[in-house]
Symmetry: D2
Subunit: 306 residues, 4 copies
């Protein structure tokens, strides 16, 4: 039986919940929120789906003890509204989400939960690290969506230049899920070809800095039009959870602990039943390695203040 928990039923959390229910992925689902009325309303709305679906998911609310035998716990709390006045800087959520983690980490620890945590809170990397430490899990057990989402945006932006499928673009956005992130252009391929070669061969002359800016501001583009982001991030979080549940050993960029820089950061890793099975070490050219170091420093600096 597959059992999932979700702490925080805001836009991201409920989209994760809706996906798990409507695609028949979850057999049991536990919703927890600081606003109990909202958690119960989301439970009801999800239950209103079930007479119309072919699968059945048991939904429980507000009970941390139900997490003891859950396989994956999504931590999706946060207050997106705090972003509104800060031009998309995810550090703006920092103080707010740190308080949330201070509050929920001991409850998670006490619940007996011993599965894998998938965190979507912002500032993504630092908060995942903080959560891992405060709740007392191994770094393997705690990951955050990080640049998995930014990579999806990179796949979109690059694919559209070639009218090809987003899945035909591979490679990584690395670093912080935030301003200091960077596209590791050396890793990007289109239809199996190194991007820059393929662009030349197709007579395309890109402004790579402009493309990178479009990717970095992808979340902001969504946010400024709808007031929050939900679908892309939820789809990434669910994908990671499915890899845990089926021990899929899926390789993908995800925020996880980097030993060299002693911080959580968006980097390629392999995800399985233990969470982060191993970091997929890749050789970056010096300019990209410098960007990774710079991004790691940014994250660590903030984390140090926690």
């Amino acid at each position: 039986m597959r059992k999932f928990g979700i702490i925080g039923v805001g836009h991201v959390g409920v989209t994760v919940a809706y996906t798990l229910v409507t695609k028949g992925i979850a057999d049991e689902l536990v919703l927890i929120d600081s606003n109990e009325k909202k958690a119960v309303a989301e439970q009801l709305d999800l239950e209103d789906c079930q007479a119309r679906l072919d699968t059945t998911t048991k939904i429980k609310v507000q009970d941390y003890s139900e997490l003891s035998d859950a396989d994956v716990l999504f931590v999706t709390a946060g207050n997106v509204a705090s972003l509104q006045h800060h031009d998309g800087n995810r550090w703006a959520e920092f103080e707010y989400t740190r308080e949330i983690v201070k509050n929920i980490a001991p409850k998670i620890a006490d619940s007996g939960f011993n599965g894998v945590l998938v965190d979507t809170m912002n500032p993504c990397d630092a908060i995942a690290h903080y959560l891992q430490r405060e709740a007392g899990f191994t770094t393997a057990q705690c990951m955050a969506t990080g640049t998995f989402l930014d990579t999806a945006r990179m796949q979109r932006v690059v694919a559209e230049q070639f009218d090809t499928n987003y899945k035909n673009v591979t490679g990584y956005v690395m670093g912080e899920h935030g301003a200091s992130q960077f596209v590791a252009w050396s890793t990007v391929k289109v239809n199996g070809h190194p991007l820059m070669e393929y662009a030349k061969a197709n007579g395309k002359d890109f402004d790579y800095d402009a493309l990178e800016e479009e990717i970095r501001m992808g979340g902001w583009a969504v946010f400024s039009g709808k007031g929050y982001t939900s679908f892309g991030i939820a789809t990434c979080a669910v994908k990671l959870a499915q890899s845990v549940i089926s021990d899929a050993q899926l390789e993908c960029p995800v925020s996880s602990y980097n030993e060299k820089y002693d911080t959580y950061i968006g980097q390629p890793a392999v995800v399985g039943k233990n969470g982060i099975e191993y970091v997929n070490q890749i050789e970056l050219p010096p300019d990209e390695e410098a960007k990774l170091k710079n991004s790691a420093d940014t994250i660590k600096e903030k984390f140090a203040t926690m």
Copy 2:
């Protein structure tokens, strides 16, 4: 190729869109909203999903002419905020949604769309009728979710009394998707048994009026906790659309034109490629027939003022 349009990308519209994309139901999807920035943001957020999904959906925005070869058009515009001060009375949305329909109906007509309309706007029944008339479609082509959602709530409320699956409860909520709706208790079965007999046999003594009130206020319970309803209603709308697309001839309660009472109203009907293939005539006991007539009168009265 399956092609869908959605007019109105509020909570319901985008949940329909997300479902069609993430379950691989739609090959092509057209999003239209009076707020272009929001439509574009939703397109981006849905596109950010696609590198993580196994299926591909092409998403277009703001172009009515794209509806000309669409199979199903969801009309999900509306301003849920107007509800907030009216204690759940869906007529509160009346003036607002009528203006929307006045605005979009000629555009739909001009687009060349000739598929099936699935309307979720409120007041559901009257607006569907108004939309059908204004946009110049046959009554078969235009349906509204109506009491399909209330019936899902009835299945939930009744099933929970017996700890059985929601899908083990059959029967209909009929009438207005609003205050004058009623549970046609004579049609309700649990595990194949007539409800009232089964309740007695299991030593249960229900207050059926209280159950009915819980069902009727199901939407309000969700609304008061989360500020809107989205999952249940979207799942119902998608189910209807799937029945159209595959010509499934699915029998279910849905808001459709009733000849006897000359109004749209929630009643059992069969849904296929032509929309409402036929109304499923059922014999109600006199007290339930009276409730149906009363509900029809309520809807007609409002409709007359349109």
Copy 3:
């Protein structure tokens, strides 16, 4: 994590396996067959799917000890070829499948398996009873597909008379999954209407005996054209397993232990995490009750010789 076992990778077993893998239902799957080469070949063929699927299923073979933590075990062994010369009489498989059960029952018992058994072997009802007894499980833990498949055929045959969706037909085929089965016409409804009334109202005058014969011989019609049956039966078996896995409490006709007649027999029951949660007692008219008794006697008589 959802884990399933399959003993017997003939046409039914591998179709179940393929369904669990390609629909992403199983996280782990154990295949066991008396023909090891075939089990390994099926494993390979299923693994050849996985680079093309969005989900991942770990497939293991020939290891009974892997069943110890499985949730559901399909028992699908049998030699359909033995049917070929016996005009569709499922008792023809009796001696052959009894020997199989004698061989595998102690291995299942020794494996430590303690989940739910879903049996598709023939003669379905007697073999399920024999398997339950030999392997030492409770009657709740052991069910067989039984008339769940015959009921699907009844839904098809009846629905086609009205050009309606198969799912719009409800009711039960009961008794033996074999010659003595019967359609409990008193339970059959179309679009919510009692069949016989609805037929009259629609000016249809059926030969119900002929319809019943078409339903009863449905398996034979498939068998005589393709040499075996696989899709319908596998779909029924998977549906039951999904109800177990998600504790769905799904009500459906299934072969299970009937106290009154002290035998396994096709009857409505509710399926959840414990297997048969309870038999759904229904009141049959005397002629149908007599048919049920007759069918029970037929099954018991054979079972007594085991």
Copy 4:
């Protein structure tokens, strides 16, 4: 509405059909076989599934005129038994399948079908070319699964060396879907790393010829254990069809027309609504280019005798 046709309801054809029905991909499906009794039996068996599924697929049989508005036509005829005495040499099916194509090509042409053909017959590449020519379609409209399946096997064999997910392995098997195929090792990556570098970094010393032989004989391994292959090949064929239906522009190795060598051959191409949208030209090292030429010569030689 998505409509598919299948000519040839042997093991591959019916597995394709079962997948399209049970995953809700097809709204309408046409089955055609030289053995009408078998086609009807498969229709019945697929229809027996539908009362247990959430989606509906209309199934028609033996009517070529129904293909006129189909989107994709699978051509899956063939007599796998002829393989049995030929040690896995797919040319053994040559004379037999050529006669089939001679018979069906004019019927396809006359049906008015104007969608995309997905061929799985053997010898795959030559037969696809022959079918394209005989039925009068453009080369874009006619593709064969070719080395898409062999590539899935390569992904399996390589991934297992590293205990990683099959989908973490990219690259191509190219050339004939048969003995002269080859793994384009220069294209193979594991977790994003060039295979040979990654193997060294992980202290692995492979016999690449042995790996290639295991991949090449993957079909034979399945065939020798189960008497045919069905799941892997059907999954590949369905994946191609889904790319056509949704105009996904999916890049993958597939048998398609190669201008340089004037033959059908397994090579990377991009698949969309028009079938083969374009061949994805890749630069091979001289030894691999020589293998491609050799394989092309093998296919052309046989094709010349048709």
